[in-house]
């Protein structure tokens, strides 16, 4: 692969990312992200720092980023306890912090 064609490929990828936008709502507020963005990132992008509250009502948020610690759980389309660090954004998702 020549340097020129590699550049073209990168540009193509960037173009694709720029054109595929996903629209979700986080606690009712619209957020637009690139396709493939993880929910945890989108929620952070929306300005939320508290993803859920513990049993004793302490704020919690993503820690491990790989689905193990369960601290990033949010409610997605009414379904409780979805790990946002493992879940890609999908068009129209209604996301609520817990």
């Amino acid at each position: 692969m020549t340097e020129a064609s590699a550049k073209n490929l990168l540009a193509l990828c960037l173009d694709t990312m720029e054109t595929e936008q996903i629209h979700i709502r986080v606690n009712g507020r619209p957020v637009t992200v690139a396709a493939g963005t993880l929910l945890a990132v989108a929620i952070a992008q929306a300005g939320e720092t508290s993803f859920r509250h513990s049993v004793r009502n302490e704020s919690r948020g993503p820690l491990c980023g790989m689905g193990v610690c369960n601290e990033c759980r949010v409610t997605v389309n009414g379904q409780l306890h979805i790990r946002s660090c493992l879940t890609p954004c999908e068009e129209g998702m209604d996301v609520r912090t817990q």
Binding site: V55, R73, Q79, L80, H81
Partner: protein, 377 residues
């Protein structure tokens, strides 16, 4: 001088704990021994369903008597026992099972147990997460659920308030015909009576006792408050749980006070190991999803197993043994030990003290199984 107790109870599960509380309350000097911890057997691995059953008159007598005792005790229980009167909802998937609903409705009504009959729409209204198309169901209003390990600890605390002593990490080898027990370390503890309340492990203390380990699996989910409201049990359970041979699964789900769901159940003989077995766990969850499709979208936190102490006639063994009037039994409660622990304990204390029991003791006496015991040797 060697120590002496009126009664030494082997097993600190719910049954041993209840017996200790009852005997100590009656003024007996009680010692409780367990090789492990409080509630280390079925007590710590079961659902904690407090339920009135209707499979036989004897089963009804003990479960309804015991549930009454639980309801009487309820105001005194600490919050961590989490005794919730959620009711049992028996669900019928088809007309054949609906016939069982009508039978149960009649059986309970005639005996003064509060029940409500539901048609298919009624069941759906009561539990919207059940799949549509159920034939109907029966709600047993005053049934409930509790957290058994804390209940066992509470009962032992009560026993201690009446001078009982509890020693954990003490392994018993044998109950002695002359009274008391022989420990694994070779020492003896003398007592007027000994009681085998070792549940699934009771045959290791009493040779030939017809108690078999019946393995069960359970799953607990994350918190989903309001997903179910009752302890829901399929009536197909009656067909499967009664088989003494094949491995079986049944839909049985319970709401915990935390909003978590306990999902069961499975029954296996000849499976002594504690490991979670994927094939039967899958069958069990598949069954749960057939009844409640949304369960498949919930996250499970943990799966585990336990062993029930099963008897051939599905009744517990309560009373003096056939070998010695100084060796007593309080075991073989299979899947009903949480419910029947209090009735068992009251019955045992009545028999020991020569008081008249409130319900007939004969169906549960060890002597009924004597013929079978000799075959097992």
């Amino acid at each position: 001088m060697a120590e002496h107790h009126d009664i030494v109870i082997v097993g600190a599960g719910i049954v041993g704990a209840a017996c200790a509380a009852e005997c100590a309350r009656a003024g007996l000097k009680v010692l409780v021994l367990d090789r492990g911890c409080v509630g280390g057997g079925a007590t710590g691995s079961c659902m904690g369903h407090v339920v009135v059953m209707s499979d036989s008159e004897a089963q009804f007598a003990l479960t309804s008597y015991s549930r009454r005792l639980w309801l009487e005790l309820r105001p005194n229980l600490p919050p961590d026992v989490e005794y919730e009167i959620c009711g049992t909802l028996w669900v019928a998937a088809d007309e054949e099972e609906m016939a069982e609903v009508y039978r149960k409705h009649k059986f309970y009504s005639e005996r003064g147990v509060r029940v409500e009959l539901f048609d298919g729409a009624g069941v759906r209204a009561a539990e919207p997460n059940l799949r549509p198309g159920m034939a109907g169901g029966l709600r047993v209003v005053d049934d409930g659920v509790l957290y058994p390990p804390c209940a066992a600890r509470f009962l032992l605390d009560r026993a201690r308030e009446n001078r009982a002593e509890v020693r954990l990490g003490v392994a018993v080898r044998e109950l002695l015909a002359e009274g008391g027990v022989l420990l694994e370390d070779g020492s003896r503890i003398s007592a007027g009576l000994s009681v085998n309340a070792a549940g699934a492990w009771s045959p290791s203390l009493t040779r030939g006792l017809p108690v078999r380990k019946r393995k069960g699996h359970l799953v607990i989910t994350d918190r989903y408050p309001g997903f179910v409201h009752h302890q829901i049990v399929e009536l197909g359970y009656l067909k499967s749980a009664h088989s003494m041979t094949a491995d079986s699964v049944a839909f049985n789900v319970q709401p915990r006070k935390t909003g978590q769901l306990l999902v069961g159940s499975s029954r296996q003989f000849d499976a002594e190991g504690a490991e979670v077995e994927q094939p039967i766990l899958s069958r069990m969850l598949q069954r749960a999803m057939e009844y409640m499709p949304g369960i498949g979208r919930l996250s499970a936190i943990r799966a585990w197993t336990g062993h029930r102490p099963a008897t051939p006639d599905k009744l517990p063994i309560i009373g003096p043994s056939v070998e010695s009037e100084r060796i007593w039994m309080a075991t073989g409660h299979e899947g009903l030990g949480i419910t029947t622990s209090l009735g068992t304990a009251r019955l045992l204390a009545d028999l020991i003290l020569g008081r008249k029991p409130e319900i007939p003791a004969e169906p549960y006496l060890p002597a009924r199984l004597a013929a079978k015991m000799s075959h097992h040797d």
